[in-house]
Structure formats: structure tokens, C-alpha cells
Symmetry: none
Subunit: 208 residues, 4 copies
């Protein structure tokens, strides 16, 4: 028991250290990009010795992948929960769009890094990572598509387009608006008001 308890405290301590390293890495990567950050820099920012960093991550790529995966995990969970909240399809979709905006606002630097990855703009990392991220992303899209489909089945939405296409469309508009907002926060209503997005997608879907 003693042993187990000790070991689990150790475990917790380890996890905390790991988190500190990942946080340092996240901030640095999002400030300067993967290739412009050195392992020494990360170790220093996290206040660990370089050797200790390598005890936790077998190399720079591994550290990067772990980081991205962790972020992906967090966002995925938040978005999936949002998709579940609300009574009908419209409410759920609004909840999703709202949650996405909130997550974005609260994690700008994180997001920039995340998009670098999901947008396929990152050549840094040799495949493999891509796939896990994409699968999760597709999972979200599938959920959204399911809502559109359900809405159509229940005749709440007109069948104006393939549900999956609608999911992709709605999410891409959200992303695009978020980028717009990133550059000129004052001119953009989105992360504050989810209906800007819903309007565009729904005006056609709903009877008028």
C-alpha cells in the first residue's frame, strides 16, 4: 500500500513535470514555430535540465507530437460535449459553434499551433501524427453531420445538401471567421455571436 501510494505520488509528480514541459513547449512553438525553437530553450523555459527533457520525450518530434495530441484531446472533448448539449439539432449546433468560438478565444496561441497541424500546413512532422488528428476531427464532423441528417429526417431542415458537406461547410466558416477575428477583433462578430454563422448555413435550410 505504502509502495503503491508512494508510486502514485511519484506518478502525479511526473505528470506535473511533463505538463510543465509541454506548456513551455506550447508557448515557445506558438511564438516562434517548431523549427525556431531549440530543445535547450524549452528546457530552460520549463526550468529543467536538458537531460531531464529527454527522459520524458525521446526526441524533439516526439515532444511535438505529444503536445499536439494533448491539445487535440482537450479540444475534441470540449467540442463533443458542446455537441451533446441542447435540446434539438439547432441548439446543439449553436452550442458547438459557440463552444468553438470560446475555446478559440481562450487559447489563441494554442490554436495557432493546432491549425498549423490540422490545416495540413505543417510539413514538420512526418506523417502518423496527421492521422490521429484527422480521425478525431472527422469524428467531430461526423457528429455534426449526424445532426444535420437528423434534422432533415425530422423535417426540421430542408435537404438542400449532403449532411456531411454541410458539416464541413459550417465548420470551415467558423474557422474562417475565427481567423478573420484574429486579425481584426473589432470588426468581427463571430466568436461573440454564433448566429452569424448559423444564419448563413440555416437561412437555406429553414423554411422562410
Amino acid at each position: 500500500m505504502q509502495q503503491t501510494a508512494g508510486s502514485s505520488r511519484r506518478e502525479r509528480e511526473k505528470l506535473r513535470q511533463r505538463q510543465e514541459m509541454l506548456t513551455a513547449a506550447l508557448n515557445l512553438f506558438s511564438e516562434k514555430g517548431f523549427h525556431n525553437v531549440s530543445m535547450h530553450e524549452i528546457a530552460e523555459r520549463a526550468e529543467f535540465a536538458i537531460g531531464t527533457l529527454y527522459k520524458f520525450f525521446k526526441n524533439k518530434e516526439d515532444l511535438y507530437k505529444s503536445l499536439i495530441l494533448e491539445l487535440s484531446d482537450r479540444f475534441h472533448e470540449t467540442l463533443m460535449q458542446a455537441l451533446a448539449a441542447g435540446d434539438d439539432e439547432i441548439e446543439k449546433l449553436r452550442s458547438y459553434v459557440q463552444a468553438k468560438g470560446a475555446v478559440f478565444k481562450d487559447n489563441v496561441s494554442t490554436i495557432r499551433l493546432y491549425f498549423a497541424e490540422t490545416r495540413g500546413a505543417s510539413f514538420n512532422i512526418k506523417a502518423g501524427l496527421d492521422n490521429q488528428i484527422k480521425q478525431r476531427y472527422n469524428h467531430v464532423l461526423d457528429q455534426i453531420a449526424a445532426l444535420f441528417k437528423s434534422g432533415m429526417l425530422h423535417k426540421r431542415f430542408k435537404p438542400i445538401a449532403d449532411p456531411f458537406h454541410l458539416a464541413v461547410a459550417m465548420d470551415s466558416i467558423a474557422n474562417a471567421f475565427l481567423f478573420q477575428w484574429l486579425e481584426a477583433p473589432e470588426n468581427n462578430s463571430y466568436p461573440a455571436d454564433p448566429d452569424v454563422i448559423l444564419n448563413i448555413i440555416f437561412k437555406g435550410l429553414l423554411d422562410s
Copy 2:
């Protein structure tokens, strides 16, 4: 005349070499990313000595910027022309969406690199470049927004949303669909059929 011809042959020869270098660089960058490609590699792929490469581009960043600017030029022109073709707003927008799909299909590797830049996912390059690209991109968006506005003024479209937002939305859907297509060409109708996109945007704009 002789002289002029000779001189212009030289010029043309130079341009051809420059193109070869840019092409080699484009392919390598889009395969592996800016930081994972060395100048030696580019020189080798282009079949020139490293020194010759540096005669044409004063450093790696200059080469990269030249490349991106060149591509941006090409796409911008094509898209602007497409926006001008067609009798009414709808035709012009369809023409744009179609042209965008075609350009994308014909320049997949080019595009991947281009998106890395326009999507802001690149930390590689010190500002400056960003701005030129963004300006051009905004120019296109403004043109599209103008079409939506004009359509609304002429009562052809319902004023369901801010015209610029609609422009951003439409273009982001196109981009998103293109990425989908990139990953699974067989499952996606877009680059072939522009109406998939127009449907989503227009169903709300038109009638009912």
C-alpha cells in the same frame, strides 16, 4: 535587331533557369516544408551548382518569398479574371468557384505550399511577405463581397448576412471542400461540380 534578339535570348535563358530553380524549390518545399529542405538539395534537384542558386536568390528566404509571390501572382490573376466572367452575379460567383477548383486540381503541390502561407500557419518567414499575400487575398474577397452586395441591391439576393461575411464563408467552404477532396478524391463532388458550394450559400439567399 541582331543585338536585341541576342540580348533577349540571354534574358529568356536566365528566366528559364530561374523558373527551373523555383520549380525545384516548389516541389521540395511542398514535399518537405521550408525548414526541411536545404539549399544544396534545391540546387541539386534543379541541376545547378549551389553558387549559381545564390546568383539568382540572395538567400534562402529570398528564394522562398520569390516563389510564394510568383504563385500568388498567378492565382490572383486567374481568380480575378474568373470573377469578371459571366453575365450576372450568380454566374460570376460560379465562375470563380469553378476556376478555383480547376486551379487547385492542376496545382496540388503548389497549393499546399500556398495555403501554408495564406492560412498563417507559417512562422518561417518574417512578416512582410504575409502582408502582400493577405492584401491580394483580401482584394479577391472584396470583389466577391461586391458581387453579393450588388446582388442584394438588385434584389436578386436576400440580405441574410453581411456581404463580406458571405464572401469569407463561400471561399472558406471552397477551401474546405478542396482539402476534403485532396484526401479522398472519389468521395467529393466539388472541384468537379461548383454547385455543391453555391447551393449551400445560395439556398438561403434566393427566393422562398
Copy 3:
């Protein structure tokens, strides 16, 4: 105590390594000149990896400056001490000339490098260094001039020339004789016998 000792051993070890690098650099520079010696060469001669060299000196110029400054320090101190030894002005000047000869004999390769710098023949290094060295050199000359002046005030020397000019003259003769000796040690009496120099300068100064 233990701690302090350990830490100071580290320090000492570091200093020893630094010295080894500087020594390797000194020998190479004095053999072949700043521009004909590569950092790899220095690292190799000092039996360190190139990266280790850069841990100690942030770049080639820094290494060079450190080296010159270190040498300058050493010589300056020795010469200043020599100038203070002896009962009267003549003894002090003889002591200086003797010390200078001894230093030269013991540090031929060092000296060659040092002269390259003090003689202004070096375009290698961007200002700054020059100034520190020149200041120190002028400090020595001022001391020597003060001795001549004092000798004149006490009527021990005839006022045949400006004291500072005499200082410059005496030191330049010493340098010139040392160079002569460098090329043909057997034909030259100087570094062994300081009076060869004093004779020339003093025969006019002293009553005959």
C-alpha cells in the same frame, strides 16, 4: 567547504580548457594569421569538438579578441612592474627594456600576433579592440615619458627632446631590435644586453 571546493574545481577545470583553446588559437593564428585559420582547425588542435569551442567563445572574432586582450593584459602588467623596479630613472628604464626583451624572447609566437595588432596592421577586427590595446600601450608610454621628464627635472637628463617623443623613440628602438633579433638571433645583442638601446638614447641625454 566541500561544496565550494567542488565548485572551484569545476571553475578551474573550465579555465584550463579555455586556456587550452586560447593556446591552440594563439599558435595557429601566429603561424598562419587570423583569416587562414578555421574554427575547425582550432578545435582540432585544442582537441575539443567544434561545438565545445563555441560554448566558450561566441564566434571567431570573440575568440580572437579574448586572446589579444589576454595577451595584452599579461604584457602590460609585466612591463608596468618592470617600470616600477629600480632606484632611479635610469634603473627603471633599463629594467623596462630588459623586461621587454625577456618577455619577447619567451613569447615569440605570442608577440608576433600581438604586434600584428598594436602595429595597426590588422584590418581583421572591427575597431574597439584596437582602442583598448592602444590605450594600454599609451599608458606604458606615458609612464616612460614621466621617467624622462622626472630625470630632466632633477637635472639628471639634458632636455634634448620632448619626453614623450623620447619614450616613443626608445620603445620603437627596442621593438626594431627585437625584430632584427628574431630574424638573426646570433647577430644581435639586444634582448641579452639592454644597454645597446640605452646607449643610443642616453648618450645624448647624459653629460659626457
Copy 4:
């Protein structure tokens, strides 16, 4: 005849071109030092194609050596003539010291380069050059020494030191004063007034 005339005009033209190249090189070398000047730079400054430069000098070192030798030639001649002018030993020596100052004043940039070589401060150039220069320099020193010797033989000078030593001493004082003047022209009497130097050397030699 025709041929010869043509050829000799050719010859003269060639020499003029060579001079232009050497002049360009001299200015650049004395501004920035041997290693900080590229062959392209020299060609450009001289307004010739790089290939043409290589027609005249087989490589950079050859160009440098030619330049130094040419300068050495010129100075040597001037100084030797000065040594011959004047009725007695004192006049000849004064003439020499005066000529040296004048040459220096008129060719500051040239001189800087020349000293870099004669002072042994240049590691740039692999031996060989050194020797020719040194021989010429020693030739001058020998002439000066001969004057001191002659003066002693004729009882005009007291035999206070070895004549060659005196020659070295006098010349080194001249050099030293010239360097002092280079740095602060206003504080130094030498190149204007040769007697400052003669005073120091002669006060002991003459009378009293």
C-alpha cells in the same frame, strides 16, 4: 617596324591596364585588408571583367605580391635617391628622414599596406614575398649604416654604437613617429620637421 610599333603600343596599353588594376587593388586592400576584398570587387573597381583580371595575375596572391613589390620598388628608389643627396653624412641622413616623411604623407593608404608587410604583421602571404622586401629594406639600412660608419671614420660622429644598430634605431624612430602622426597629426612634429628625429640620434653622436 609597323609590327613593333603596334606591339609596343599594345605593350603600353597593357601596362596602363595593369596599373589600373593594381591601383584599384591598392585602394581596396588598404581600405579593408587583403582577406576582406574579393577579386570581383577589384575587377569591378578597376572596370574590367573578372576574367581579364586573371589574364594579368594568375591568382589573388600573385596580384597582391605584384602590388607590394611595385610599391616597394617605388619607395626604395625614392629613399635611395634621398640618401645620395646632400654634401655630408648629416645632410644625407636628414635628406633621408625628410624624404621618408614626405613619402609617408603622400601615400598614407599605400603605406599602411606596406607596413603590414614589412612589419611582419602579415600572415596573408606565404613567404617568398617577405624575402624580396626584406632584402630591399636591408639594402637601405646598409646604406644608412654606411653613412654612420663613414661619419665615425671621419671623426664627425662619436662611436657610441654599432653603425647598423644606429641605422635600425633611426629608421624605427621615424616609423614610430609616423604612426604617432597618423593617429594624431596635430600633436606631432615629425613628418614636417626631420630634426626631431635627428636630435635624438645625434645629440649623443655629436660633440660635447
